[in-house]
């Protein structure tokens, strides 16, 4: 089954690259709708990668995880997000703190950085999916960067969700997924965290009349 042996790592790396690319596409776009769309496609690619790893890695729990991931992050959360930004307004991320061209270059540098820091991980792992690990860590770093560099509260939420996707990808590539019970707990937490953030954005909109986090600067010494 030599062909199959070579196929699995390639497909896994391809899937992870797609997930990362959608994350980078996020940095390129301006409108909040595009952010949500990019996140949606990214989560779909992630779910497919999970299913792929489940198939080749003979771990059937991952199918369940893939389905839950798809339902949660491709359907439920993006629809909530869409409803949120339609109600709260502000369709464009007007001026992020870091402009788009620079953001893209920084993203490239972050991925290079993640390659450097994950060298011991790739060296240690014996799994065929190990080549995608730097991409997952790169996505994590890009998620943090999106949170720091965006101005609208909604963009920060999407950045957080991208960060979570990166960590899920890392779990899939590095360990073929964590035990199912824990995975369920994680999903629950992500959903609840997202709901709380949503509630807070509504509260921000109510009290501040805008979701520009630049306004959230009253608290000083």
């Amino acid at each position: 089954m030599n062909g199959n042996d070579a196929l699995f790592p390639q497909l896994a790396t391809l899937g992870s690259s797609l997930v990362l690319l959608f994350g980078i596409a996020l940095l390129w776009r301006r409108s909040l709708g595009a952010y949500v769309r990019a996140f949606r496609w990214q989560s779909l690619a992630l779910a497919l990668t999970f299913a792929l790893i489940g198939y080749f890695g003979h771990n059937h729990e991952l199918y369940v995880v893939a389905v839950i991931l798809a339902v949660l992050k491709v359907i439920i959360i993006p629809s909530y997000l869409t409803r949120l930004y339609e109600r709260v307004g502000g369709r464009r991320e007007a001026q992020p703190y870091v402009n788009i061209a620079t953001s893209l270059i920084i993203a490239g540098l972050l991925v290079s950085l993640s390659y450097a820091i994950t060298r011991p991980l790739v060296a240690v792992s014996k799994l065929p999916t190990r080549n995608g690990i730097p991409l997952a860590v790169g996505l994590i770093l890009i998620g943090v960067f999106v949170i720091i560099s965006r101005r609208k509260a909604l963009s920060q939420i999407v950045g957080f969700l991208v960060l979570e996707n990166g960590i899920a990808l890392l779990a899939a590539l590095g360990t073929y997924g964590i035990p199912l019970i824990v995975e369920l707990g994680v999903f629950l937490d992500v959903l609840m965290g997202f709901l709380v953030m949503q509630i807070l954005v509504y509260q921000i909109k109510d009290t501040f009349e805008s979701i520009d986090v630049e306004q959230l600067s009253k608290l000083r010494h």
Binding site: L121, F160, L200, L216
Partner: protein, 488 residues
């Protein structure tokens, strides 16, 4: 069975508060009494561990386990929770919340307490993580109980920074599991702490180093270690006093517990003092930032938050100094839990009296409310580390452990720490003087109105004093047990 007695009461309390409509004050009293059950169970666990008994386990796959370290933290969290519930709005504190707000408060704070207790009794590090994430969620919703621009801003920053931190901690957990899988293949109970510890010496040092960095940054965000502490002043300043008290004492302790659990695993895997050095560096950074921020403080609630950061720094220091340091750090944790919780309640009282959290406004405290002022002063002196309070003993033990180290640069670090503590000390005393003495503003009513609520706070202060004068034997045995678990 004992685990159920520990974990069920806050859950039942939250459920009850949710179901009883319309909200009645008795619900608050009932919940406060329920928390005594948890406290009792925690004390039983602690006694069992102090006697050197085998750690009890419970649940499928050994889900819950109570060794010495867990037991100590259970007691801390349960005690702080009991104090908080007795002094809650609607129970011990007069607040003008609406019925809905009271209910929301009771539900959320009990769920918050439940998740904290779950975090310290979980055997599985991933369940511990899930519980800590839950605490972020519940506390974030509570911060905005009284809707206002500053509280919404504080809650948003807290949720965002906290969630990112927790996510990074999860990445670290995954990396730890990854190393285990790379070594021994997948296993159902691989994420149980004793199993991790057992396999730790065989794990790859570079991977565990990377994992520990993620975990320290992640859980350190929850604990408020600099430079991830920026949410602390905002959140503690804007939260209702009860929540601030619980967050600064119990939640902080739980986050440090998580760091300590992983540190033990990392130390067993990485044979040099990598984790120790990281903790020492971050501890010094926290101390430095806290000391100078206190000097610049203009708001006494934020000042208390910076004091939290200072103590975070000290505890990190202790954890990085070997066995004696861990002993001192854990003792410091216990003392800090006692001191901080009552300080935030007092600060809440003062704010209610003066109508503003600014230090400039809160003058003449001793004239306006002598008992409150006196307790506040005593508590602040305790926090600063003056004898006869417990903090003095633990800080002394910490510095003794530090100076006993062989490396000269550790001694240099300790000297720098002492200097920073001095800076903080001077700033605190200055602020305190400004608050206690002087002429109170005209519109503030004079006369003590706190009533019976002062009794638990006085009790807490006396406990602190007792801890300072003697170290009770059970506590000492328990701490030594823990040190034995933690430093192999």
């Amino acid at each position: 069975m004992k685990f159920l007695l520990l974990l069920l009461p806050p859950f039942v309390a939250a459920l009850g508060a949710y179901m009883v409509r319309p909200y009645r004050a008795t619900v608050g009293w009932f919940n406060a009494l329920l928390s005594l059950v948890s406290l009792g169970a925690a004390l039983v666990f602690a006694g069992h561990a102090a006697r050197g008994g085998e750690a009890p386990v419970f649940g499928p796959g050994e889900l819950l386990r109570a060794d010495g370290l867990s037991a100590l933290l259970m007691v801390c969290v349960a005690a702080a929770s009991t104090l908080t519930l007795f002094l809650s709005p609607g129970v011990g504190t007069e607040t003008n919340y609406t019925q809905a707000q009271f209910r929301r408060y009771q539900v959320l704070i009990n769920l918050f307490i439940f998740s904290m207790l779950l975090a310290v009794s979980a055997n599985n590090v991933a369940i511990m993580w899930v519980a800590l994430e839950a605490t972020t969620i519940f506390s974030a919703l509570l911060i905005t109980l009284a809707r206002s621009k500053s509280s919404v801003e504080a809650s948003w920053k807290y949720v965002l920074i906290g969630s990112v931190g927790i996510a990074l901690a999860f990445a670290g957990t995954v990396l730890g599991y990854f190393d285990f899988v790379a070594l021994a293949g997948r296993a159902e109970n691989a994420l149980n702490w004793p199993v991790l510890l057992q396999n730790a010496p065989a794990m790859h040092p570079e991977v565990m180093k990377l994992a520990f960095v993620f975990l320290l940054v992640g859980y350190g965000t929850k604990a408020g270690i600099a430079p991830m502490h920026t949410w602390k002043p905002d959140a503690y300043g804007e939260a209702p006093p009860a929540l601030a008290a619980l967050m600064s004492s119990a939640l902080f302790a739980v986050a440090m517990y998580a760091i300590l659990r992983w540190k033990v695993v990392a130390d067993a895997a990485v044979k040099d003092h990598y984790a120790d050095n990281l903790l020492l560096a971050l501890g010094l950074l926290s101390l430095a930032i806290a000391a100078f921020s206190v000097a610049q403080s203009r708001n006494y609630k934020r000042m208390l938050a910076y004091s939290s950061v200072e103590h975070t720094g000290l505890i990190c220091f202790g954890l990085g100094l070997g066995a004696a340091g861990v002993f001192a750090a854990l003792l410091h944790l216990v003392n800090h839990t006692a001191a901080k919780s009552l300080m935030f309640f007092l600060a809440g009282d003062i704010e209610r009296r003066y109508g503003s959290p600014a230090i400039k406004q809160a003058r003449g405290l001793l004239k306006v409310a002598p008992w409150t002022g006196g307790l506040f002063a005593a508590g602040l002196l305790a926090l600063v580390g003056l004898p006869p309070f417990g903090m003095f003993i633990s800080e002394f033990a910490l510095f003794r452990a530090g100076f006993a180290q062989h490396h000269p640069w550790v001694r240099g670090l300790m000297a720098a720490a002492l200097l920073l503590l001095l800076v903080a000390f001077v700033s605190f005393i200055t602020h305190l003087n400004r608050m206690l003495y002087g002429e109170p503003p005209a519109e503030v009513a004079a006369g003590e109105t706190a009533g019976w609520r002062l009794a638990p706070m006085l009790l807490g202060l006396l406990a602190l004093a007792m801890l300072g004068l003697t170290l009770p034997a059970p506590l000492e045995t328990l701490l030594q047990q823990i040190v034995r678990i933690v430093s192999r």
